[in-house]
Symmetry: C2
Subunit: 162 residues, 2 copies
């Protein structure tokens, strides 16, 4: 079981975009440069985040991507689901209805216990990621950084913003 | 993100084996027949469950697989991890150390917030599956079955056990 690598890139991009000055945007090429990501690969994930209403593509010479909504209202779960999909990792194929002792699903009084436990575990996973916003992640990233990291970050920002 | 299909087969096999009479075992072929699973495919997962100390292979003409331990002590999580592995679905590639603003991981005071949230969500997922035992699943399967399902099950058992 593995989440798409794009989830990590997408979440980091959203955090970076959350600290842009109001009105500013960053092109996919700059986001790729910042994270050392292959730009064609990253572009696909940025488009998925746009389709999900998390990012917004701004046209024009100073265009690029910015957050489509305040960072306080974008959850890590939304980013995960935009990039990796919202399907739970366990896919019940209804084994109870197969084989020599199988009976139609309608004859069971309860959901299969294996399926139910998997659905419950998946809900706990999603619930937790729903409590974490891009704003939380940005605050944590800033407070967890060393002075050198902050300085490099500010220098890069001054270089790339118009 | 998707769990191996073998998790579903493995969990159902463990539940079936938990209701065998003491000392009895079922060969891979019978387990495959019961679940309408391809036997070569299922055999691979049964071997993984044996290596993990969940099942035990009994040699001889009436041999086959049986639970290696009481069903009350085998959790759904153990079955998941035996078949799908125990690696969390999110793989942090340490993006904070890359690119024009990257600094060595040692310079960060805290774990990356994205990684931390993913680890916490994964722990909740695993904790839940750790609370569900094969015995719980067997009791649930019996109480959720219709009289017809129970009858077909008992008939099959009488046919296949020596």
């Amino acid at each position: 079981m593995k989440l798409s690598e794009g989830v990590e890139w997408g979440a980091h991009c959203a955090v970076l975009l959350s600290v842009l000055p109001s009105g500013a945007a960053l092109p996919a090429g700059r986001l790729a440069e910042y994270h050392e990501a292959p730009v064609a690969y990253l572009a696909k994930h940025l488009q998925a985040l746009s389709r999900a209403g998390i990012l917004e593509a701004v046209p024009g010479p100073h265009g690029g991507y910015r957050l489509a909504r305040p960072a306080t209202g974008i959850t890590l779960l939304e980013i995960v689901e935009a990039i990796d999909g919202a399907r739970p990792p366990f896919r019940c194929t209804d084994l109870r209805s197969r084989g020599p002792a199988g009976v139609p699903a309608s004859q069971f009084r309860t959901m299969c216990g294996i399926h139910r436990a998997m659905v419950e575990a998946d809900e706990l996973w999603r619930e937790h990621l729903r409590t974490v916003t891009v704003a939380d992640l940005a605050v944590g990233a800033a407070s967890g950084s060393s002075p050198e990291a902050v300085e490099k970050f500010v220098n890069w920002f001054q270089e790339v913003l118009p």
